[in-house]
Symmetry: D2
Subunit: 335 residues, 4 copies
């Protein structure tokens, strides 16, 4: 059994804790949150150990691995501490909002044999993977274009937005990683557009955007387009279109049920989209833990590792630079 | 040019008149309706001859063929007159509400070389035909089951219902013919169920039903099921499912546009269904005239002839008998 | 914790055993199968007790309830034994192939307070339930017609067919129960049609059918139609259409993924249907165990009880009688 | 009757000629093509006048309006000649490949009361219009993003590509106009990406691209994304997604029939997409002629006028400039 401790008892940490418990080859070694009552409550509910500090976790010989679901600013330190303690790490995205700090961390953990995995859960979505498989199998030929539609169901609270690092580092970063995953080769150029249409006042205050389009191009000319909005009235919109020389595969949205309704005011009305990411990516989060357990056991490599996390952040930074300078930004500018 | 006169200037007669005008190889030779103002108005609008009587049409040497869209009770006489006058006939369904009268008419016109076509327009629907083609091509293997869903958007006026001959002769008759068309072999047994759920009072008064299920079986055991309702709140529901040993083909409903809407109260909302038969079967009605023109020119046989009309009526009568006697009725009982 | 023992270690028994293990409020108390190696293997794999006989299970005070997944002929005895031992029962469908034996069993267990649940798993399918909810909520108005399409992906082995009790008792029985569940009122008349189209020789030998249509009517005139085939080339076809005075709700088929492919030989190609019932009704089987656990704990009644099992069998028997006598069979004939 | 002469008897000219003939308020006044045999053949088939020269058309007092479907290089002269002759003009897109020539033409025809319409047929597509109507009606709220997918079914012949003016002026120009139509406000910035993935050799020779992504932004920040490919293996892909503050409307692809097939190798297989633009935009082309006739009769303004044609060309030029300079190009640079 892989004994995994969870740092951070917010919504995501709890979900991961439950998935760790449910996995046949892992056990929840304990939890910790800087907010002691949360730790206590989660520990009691999940009948697991209530660690007094993160240090206790790193020091414990009853912990094989850690899952970091704390606030972003703590990620880098915990990753370094985890690696130093020889505990496999699964860290939520983004690694950090500062590429400088991420690069420094990369140097510190360079050469370690301790696996560090970044929580790009969408790579594990069975439908996204099945779409990607049509590329790997040659079924749709050479991949030419990847179109990712990614819209949140509603604007996050102001405080969240203000500390999020901006749409590209907070929200688009998932899509940037997914684009890399789908493209199968490195992105060399990024162009981004940001607009303030959902909450212009807040966005202007934060220097942020709520509506965005990003175009990525690889060395061979493959193109990926990402369309983002912080607020889709009809729910959590998550689609991927892969266009290749022999065909197209689309990973369609998920609805709560497969019931269609036909009423006087509309026909073929589908059920609401699964809201929000915890529901929509339920299977993906479980598969992510499975990959982490395999990684801990030495059977597999992380589907997304530290370098993937770093590269996604570079792409996010390139987006901001592209918007600011109204030009296509070369990734080589970041090295 | 095939010169076709139209008897009956109601909604259907006018539609046929316009289609005759629009066809490149036919011309509208004139119109007649017992309601003189209707004849006058249609004749003026379509710039065609205003015949004073049906007799004048049969006597005219400027008329090659007639399209009968008058009230059902006049069909048999007009068919006989048309055949006697050597004019090709396209008569709206049903031939008559009385099988006895239809049989008598059949005897009278037996042996004639004048083509008599019955207006089973649905046979001409491009989608229904494309579905049937999957059977003819062997693509779905041996046909096992035909499932026809046929629901009207709203109950017809009381007066119409009272003189309609009952749901099986008025409404189901289209589906009975379509089932024969799809099955490709003769029906030997009929079982029907009728319920009074939309307007129980009216239906009880008329000895009629507004909700029905009919099962047809052929000699070789192929099955067809027809599901009818006089009132579908979501519109004109017209679907055909063909199930065979190698697969299934479905002729799906028609929507007014191909726009789907995604709103806060529902996703993937399709446009309303095309209402009513004149809209839904627009292409079919035009193709029907094309087949009629080909028939007049001697290039083709009617897709549905008098005997098809007679057989559909037998099936409708068998439905009523089946409901009354709560048993499966053999078609051989009608010969 | 509800301690549940499983009788029968075939494919279905094993699935139930795993679901019992996975449920947070139940534990697997042990397994038994007449085939000792199966019992041993399953007991070892699931780390549960290997009972030497059914009697040992009934006698054990470490067993609160039993799940019967043995061959049909043993069901009645095990139900009686379970009830006598005061152990809640969940028995796979059908209760028995003989209505006489079922009636006798009903008499024997009459008045007991021990819950007996019958495994009509489809009632628990989230999508089927969501469709039914549109009726309960009045969203589609008064229910008029229920259309159930239920086709297996492939003909079962000859030996299975020969001992199955015939299509209506073996396969249609699920749909008959589902029709009752959806209709919300008792069926009073049954008409069935059976054909031999998939394997005519085998079916004739068994006096059985592989292709069927069943029509059910309730006292108030609601209609249900069931369309069955033992073999659908495109997979396990499970659809329910509920047609009411204000609209229609359809519980659509389940596909393995939500990926659609667009290739040179076809567009919008959906993924294969989930095959077979264990995959398609995975969520339903889990919810069934949940209902069973609630029942054991006294918090709920069985969604489908012994009387539901008996009534479904009456409907199945009525189907055979209807086919044999080519008539509509009244359910009152069976009392 | 509006008497319209057609210049150019290629595939598009012939289609327009037939639509003019079919329209109830227009007549085909004659045809002309520099290739005399084509003119003769079309004139004979359509029973219309065979003009010996374009000049004869401009001079004829039996011609009220002209439809220009000749090669692009002749458009500007014919437009000027038509305007000078006082004949209403409908000219196929693009006006010209040179913005300089288009600007010069604009000056020459400035102030004329003779209507000049540009053939941006997609504006007339009933489905695209129904999608746009959801914006005009406020049904999807404020428009935020327009996503246009536009892929041709196969690479045009080399010769066509070489003289096409490049993908942005030849193919994307339709989408650029459509984006302007949908956005409802002027585009201020353009960013484009071009790749050579379908036929890299040919594209490199021509300095052209076969795969493109274009992003347009308006003053208020609305975004439009166009995804192009010269070759989609699954057919002519034409979709528009309108994303607004209250919802989304999608104008979906058109299939040849509404039949879905369910076979052993795939389920829900839709019919092929309508190929090519003449089939897909059949209704749009007819509606375009209707708008032209209304324009000739003074009842309406052109849905797309000369200035729309000029602005689309500016956007196309901006695309080439953006690719060349790897930056976002301001439209103000073109004035």
């Amino acid at each position: 059994m892989a004994r995994i401790a969870v740092l951070g008892c917010g919504r995501i940490g709890r979900m991961h804790a439950a998935n760790i418990e449910a996995h046949p080859r892992s056990s929840l070694a304990g939890v910790f949150d800087v907010h002691a009552p949360s730790t206590k409550e989660v520990a009691e509910r999940l009948k697991t150990r209530n660690f007094a500090s993160a240090e206790d976790i790193f020091a414990s010989n009853e912990v094989d691995a850690i899952l970091i679901a704390t606030s972003t600013s703590t990620h880098v330190d915990y990753i370094q501490d985890g690696v130093a303690a020889g505990k496999a790490v699964l860290c939520e995205k983004p690694i950090d909002l500062s590429l400088e700090r991420v690069n420094a961390c990369a140097q510190k953990i360079a050469g370690t044999s301790v696996p560090v995995m970044i929580g790009f859960c969408r790579r594990f979505d069975p439908d996204h993977r099945a779409a990607r498989q049509t590329v790997l199998d040659g079924e749709i030929g050479e991949l030419h274009q990847v179109i990712i539609t990614s819209r949140d169901p509603g604007l996050a609270p102001d405080a969240y937005i203000r500390s999020s690092g901006g749409i590209f580092r907070d929200m688009t970063i998932h899509d940037l990683d997914l684009a890399r995953f789908m493209l199968g080769e490195e992105v060399v150029a990024v162009t981004a557009h940001g607009s303030r249409l959902v909450n212009p006042t807040l966005m202007a205050e934060c220097g942020d955007y709520d509506t965005a389009v990003v175009t990525l191009v690889t060395e061979s000319g493959k193109q990926a387009v990402i369309t983002n909005s912080r607020q889709a009235a009809y729910g959590y919109d998550q689609r991927i279109e892969l266009f290749g020389s022999k065909g197209m595969a689309i990973s369609e949205n998920h609805h709560e049920t497969r019931v269609s309704k036909h009423l006087s005011h509309g026909t073929d009305i589908a059920a609401p989209l699964e809201n929000f990411f915890i529901e929509r990516y339920r299977a993906a989060f479980a598969a992510e833990i499975d990959n982490f357990v395999d990684t801990i056991e030495g059977k597999a490599k992380p589907e997304a590792d530290f370098e993937d996390g770093r590269k996604a952040l570079i792409l996010a930074d390139a987006c901001f630079k592209s918007v600011a300078e109204a030009r296509t930004v070369e990734i080589s500018e970041f090295t």
